[in-house]
Symmetry: C2
Subunit: 208 residues, 2 copies
């Protein structure tokens, strides 16, 4: 759907779909602020200031502060589903598809740690309706990973006792990266992706 996808570097601009320009600048500012301080500790004045606007400008493009979080969360989760779906529908063996899924998903959490933090850890700040919508997207995330694992079990590639429990563990290895990854640390997103993909293949008992 969108343009550049696997350009190297850190965070590519995945917010191209947000228009007009001022609305996108506000949303990007909100992502940064939410990731740094958390949703409740971020003020609308801070968001507007980062975007170079007055506090009132925010309310021309968004009805409330919560709508900003909702939009960020939905776009982020849709991107997460897309990454996993692309890997799951690939052509290789279950082993290859699982490794691809984990390394892509880990790269997304490490490289776009700012976005990933908001997406993964600020869910509870949404109201009931918005939260329900996001939870549905999370179930799709879970289903994509579980699907690959089930394929591998069916084909005999994997040796797994508890499919759903292992699915949760695989997702933990991806998502928790957003908690500890440090952009100035010794590891690149690619390296963490490769390592965690290898660890996941060991977990499911795939022969390397």
């Amino acid at each position: 759907m969108s343009t550049a996808e696997e350009t190297a570097g850190g965070e590519m601009p995945p917010w191209a779909e947000v228009t007009p320009d001022a609305a996108r600048r506000l949303l990007v500012a909100a992502v940064e602020a939410f990731a740094e301080r958390g949703y409740h500790a971020t003020t609308t004045r801070d968001i507007a200031g980062r975007a170079g606007m007055s506090p009132a400008a925010l309310y021309i493009h968004y009805k409330t502060k919560e709508e900003l979080l909702h939009r960020i969360s939905r776009i982020g989760h849709e991107k997460a589903v897309e990454i996993l779906r692309t890997a799951a529908q690939g052509e290789g063996s279950a082993t290859e598809r699982l490794a691809d899924a984990v390394s892509s998903f880990v790269r997304w959490h490490a490289g776009g740690r700012t976005t990933a933090r908001v997406v993964q850890y600020e869910l509870d700040s949404l109201g009931p309706a918005a939260r329900a919508e996001i939870i549905a997207l999370r179930r799709q995330v879970d289903a994509e990973v579980r699907g690959i694992i089930e394929d591998g079990v069916a084909s005999g590639e994997f040796d797994v006792l508890d499919v759903q429990g292992t699915t949760l563990a695989v997702l933990s290895l991806c998502i928790d990266v957003a908690r500890w990854f440090n952009v100035n640390g010794p590891r690149t997103p690619d390296e963490v992706g490769a390592l965690n993909a290898d660890l996941v293949l060991r977990m499911v008992g795939a022969r390397k």
Copy 2:
């Protein structure tokens, strides 16, 4: 040091060390509120209300709201270090000690999910001084796990390419449990602990 340690059930009272009684009630109320809503979304009126006191009572026992979070975080991290240290200094092989460490640590995150959520995800709400103190405790957590893995590599029990990267992955499998575990879900803390311990042994290439 303390009394009952491995009584079954959910959350044992690990706050016995907090005195006097009113201070402990306030702290327990704060843990619940912080876990439910997050630090910044929790008001001092809410904490005091849960403890059956007026808002002003809080400030007799704690100087600020942040001091409450600091105390919770320090006690929680000390407990985490204690759990892992106990497992690491056990008598078995590295394989047995790693499985013990992971299953205990996962049980703590699942059973005491309320506390674990605050401990693992509210670190950034602390001021610089308090945060530095807590980060030092986290390094001890990391070191205990890494120590066991290094032992296993040295003894030839484990086959690990990247010791520090694997340490981070093991901790992810433990800590992320606090994010997704549901007390009303189908799994008990014991079951998740056993499963994740098994998955970790696969990750480090231990023969079962």
